[in-house]
Symmetry: C3
Subunit: 464 residues, 3 copies
């Protein structure tokens, strides 16, 4: 068995002078509460406060970062209990025996934090320690100290946003709010299932949308009214933001007549790929218009080719680690929306990308000009030490720090949330320390920026 211990200086640059500055900066932000303005935790955890299950069920099966890597090296998803029943102890053992695959990845860093800081384990995960891990974690999860609300408080989370679609009743959010528990859990409005004509079950979703809202969602005006109603309901349940996960960042600004005609083709079910793309594009602009009315902050997460693996999608469904980033244009794509709302000071549009070539070329110049634009943090595959450093190096010189919005953990892996924020804070402090060491920033300023990146900017940008 090999020892596992987190080093106090982990993730800081190696140079002693830089590291010393980073350590000082980090010391002032490490205990700030967590603002988690965008993520995918399950509100039922906080509503019902039931114990989590076993190690595999909590840490392995929902984590597509983990099972995609195992799958890439020949592990069958069924053996991990994904898309089939599997002995969770055996599934966990597969992870343990293949844990070397994660060397150099952020998953390894996040998990080691969870293992040591949440469960107090002091040996590394490998074949030899698989059962020790499985038992330690599973037994702990059965205790009250590891119930969701207790962990939420232990993690010092000031506020967390979940993500729901317009058809969600938000019953768990209601339960939380009515429970008297002090934890702040808010929702976010993610309408892809009723906005993307190519989403599975789109027609049925529209029918439910009508039912839920009392609007005729097969008419353009009724459909827009339904969105307005659900946005208002989401806002009442704490939402301060919307989110849009389209294949591209394309926006459109059709005339009302054109928009209505397009919608007619969409609901008629007789539409081309281009119609679907144009409809999504138009809906981003419509959502922006509604944001100007209701104040919800808008997020666009474009550029993922969802469900790239056709056979796996057929057998296992969505979100099985087969989403692949694509080249993404923002300059042409956003222009229709920006032509209408780009100069507004009362509208916030937060942009994300999976295409890092757009950081310095498109996103930083856009955010460094348009009043409505802000840049979301390094996203998904880039939510990692090197990815975050590239983000800062490629956006700061044109957009500055204050056109960015702090960190999003963007995760459904609840236990890893403090690890992810800790990683982001360490990397940002390391980046600032480099600027200080090279005399590109004064130390007192770096302290202010470190706090802004760790706490203030997320709170302000998301109105939390």
């Amino acid at each position: 068995m090999r020892p596992l211990k987190l080093d106090d200086d982990r993730l800081f640059p190696a140079d002693p002078a830089v590291r010393s500055i980073a350590r000082e900066l980090y010391g002032e932000v490490c205990d700030l509460p967590i603002i988690s303005p965008h993520g995918h935790t399950d509100p039922s955890w906080f509503a019902l406060n039931q114990p989590f299950g076993n190690a595999a069920e909590l840490l392995l099966q929902p984590d597509h970062y983990l099972f995609r890597m195992l799958y890439s090296q020949g592990v069958r998803l069924e053996d991990l209990g994904i898309g089939a029943d599997a002995n969770p102890r055996v599934a966990w053992r597969i992870l343990a025996e293949n844990f070397h695959l994660f060397r150099g990845t952020p998953s390894r860093i996040w998990l080691d934090w969870v293992f040591t800081e949440v469960f107090g384990i002091e040996v590394r995960l490998e074949g030899e320690t698989a059962d020790l891990y499985y038992d330690t974690i599973t037994e702990a999860l059965a205790t009250d100290a590891f119930r969701p609300r207790t962990l939420f408080e232990r993690f010092n989370i000031e506020v967390i946003a979940t993500t729901e679609n317009p058809l969600d009743t938000l019953e768990h959010h209601r339960t939380i709010r009515e429970s008297g528990w002090s934890g702040r859990v808010v929702t976010a409005y993610r309408p892809d299932p009723v906005v993307d004509p190519e989403f599975e079950g789109f027609a049925g979703n529209l029918a439910k949308f009508s039912e839920l809202t009392g609007e005729d969602c097969l008419s353009w005006q009724g459909y827009l009214a339904a969105h307005r109603k659900r946005r208002a309901f989401f806002a009442a349940m704490g939402a301060t933001s919307t989110d849009h996960g389209h294949p591209t960042a394309r926006t459109a600004d059709l005339s009302p007549i054109e928009a209505e005609a397009l919608f007619g083709r969409i609901v008629g079910g007789d539409f081309s790929e281009w119609d679907a793309e144009l409809f999504r594009a138009q809906m981003l602009t419509e959502m922006a218009a509604m944001s100007l009315d209701d104040g919800l902050v808008m997020q666009i997460h474009p550029g993922s080719f969802r469900n790239h693996n056709a056979a796996l999608f057929a057998s296992h469904g969505r979100d099985k680690g087969a989403d692949i980033p694509m080249r993404t244009d923002y300059v042409e794509a956003l222009k229709p929306l920006l032509d209408r709302f780009g100069n507004s000071r009362d509208f916030t549009l937060i942009l994300f990308t999976l295409d890092e070539s757009s950081y310095a070329r498109e996103l930083a110049p856009l955010a460094g000009h348009y009043p409505c634009l802000r840049l979301g943090p390094a996203w998904w595959f880039h939510d990692s030490p090197e990815g975050m450093r590239r983000f800062r190096r490629m956006t700061t010189e044109t957009a500055g720090f204050y056109n960015t919005v702090g960190f999003n953990d963007d995760t459904r892996a609840f236990l890893s949330i403090p690890a992810r924020h800790d990683l982001a804070r360490r990397i940002d402090c390391g980046f600032l320390a480099e600027l200080v060491a090279e005399h590109r920033l004064e130390l007192d300023e770096a302290h202010e920026v470190a706090r802004a990146l760790a706490y203030d900017l997320a709170k302000a940008a998301y109105k939390l």
Copy 2:
């Protein structure tokens, strides 16, 4: 009030051994005269030698790096005196109170240099010091020591190129040449207003072009002859280069008959977007052909989506910080021109990009093969510490140092010119120091390269 002092080691890498080498290299190049082969200073400054105005008028209002950032955070351009009259002291105060926005940006580095080295200010710019700054700078500007020619000499500028379009009379350049002043100010030929059919006022520009040259610029041969005449006139006024700011790097090599027919559509005003693109493309090849005759070095600055913000363009016009880089292809785009002139040893074509993904993929391989090609330095949004480092890291291994052309300050912010050259020299010396520290280059070689990058290459490539 917080102290402001430039550190002697600023912008050098933090590692002590690397920094020590960088300092040694820099010590040999820091006092070399400035070669400024491409920029946008106003020749009337040097012709008339009138005092500059106040702090806001000199340092804020012409600097789109500054006001675009302020605008992105909700400041109104009118409040800065852009597109409207404003109290310059109040405008300056807005900059001062928002100066934290520039943390981590090159503007901050350039301005701090100007504040300390040009004006001797020893406290940082912030709300509290806004008036002190405004008064100190404005009073200094009224003195003879801060007149353009005196600053030119104080800055140790050996030669500076401005940029004019073919309709410019170059009267200021004539005045300078006839004045007996020893400062060397040359022009450069930037024909976009009479080459780009989509430029504002293109038809009127052609009329003026005819008038000025005595050629019939509505005929293809007359139009080409007019260019030849104006190029000769510009060369007589010191020009050694031309410059072309097209949306793309596309070139074309049409037959004379096709070119003439295309020109007919262009001057007829009945042309498509593709016609306009093709005409610009053809004109790059025509300009290259003329360069083979008259020896002017050719520059292409492609890939900027000009005036992206439609409303701002309508209200405030060009150059208001709303130009956004686009993905740019060079491999296909340059082939027609390179097929004609690529192997010439008597022709120099200097390429720039706003799309850093082209550095290692396209530009370095092209420049590392074609005799006519050289790479311009990191441009515009990338004219920054991190941007320059990326440029060197991504071009050197394929194109070497000697297919690059040293530094361009490319600025209209006259007072920042020494700051920009100083920054470039420091970053280049830091890069070379890393190569030396990793034993990828010997120290004596690094000295030679440092001098080449700071002085020799620009002078040679631009024939200055």
Copy 3:
């Protein structure tokens, strides 16, 4: 004369703590045998074991990295003995006098290794030492100690793969195998000349393909059968892999009827550019299908615009340093092939790129999911210290180390092979040392990974 001496710490990061770890890691892998699974050495060298010629003939004329740089600075290829006879001593002198052009390039690093480690030269190459170099090298080459087989053994090469096309008789490989010499030299199947309809001499190549295989290669089934036969023959001569150098990574999965009709157009000679592209695309999928049968590992090297310089191609032919990388898509391009074989555990497809923007965006996510995919090392223009660092920084966090395949030297410059592997091992150890120093990886794990990257992964991935 300036001294030439390789530093023991060359190519390690400058920070003392990181360097110390890198040195330790490197110490354990520096003497591992060389696995060279993909390259372009000439099998006749090892078959005939004749002495190499003179310095220019061995080191300059076949090395397009060298002559492309010289050409870019105005040297004529004819003066180097390329496409014309030239005095080799004079050609060598041109290299010597221009050797400063290679400062900061990997060619300089490789050559300095060859000069010192192979030939024992202790002064730098420059004009003054040109003759000393020429004589020293040329005299050494005439001795038995510098014959190909002796160098092969001295270089500690465990196995090397050459690359041949299906029309090659592999007689040299046969000679090697029958010679009793213990050196392991295998071939690889690179069918571009009979797969790419736009390859020079394609129609004639098909005729030879028929002749050689006894199949009717003008019929679709005969053509496929011919490939199967030659693949089997290549495998019998040691091949474990195929390689495909297409302009793009496009794959297709046509129905048998469509494929046959397309092939009819291709062999009929009446095909469009799109037909040619589609045929190459279909053939990648056909090759993958054959790999599932015969177990050959498949490699795709896409994205090079071959022979970009039209005049040079006309006068000097292929491979004259005028191949330029292009933007390359993988996400859409590979989907047809991956839809058929992506989930196979018995098939290995190794991807290369010249478009580094695809590393983090496309290639690492694809390889981190699909069981069949692995990532080849930094290729061609990116086979360099900075290029390799970018590769590791941009792929590891998503794909890990174990979805990569170690190093390929990919060279025809036989003497530089140990230098290239040494460079790769040093850079990888430096990267791992950074991870260790930042506590992102434990030292004992870094040792395991260093060995995997230097030896194990290449051997396993290529089944050598």
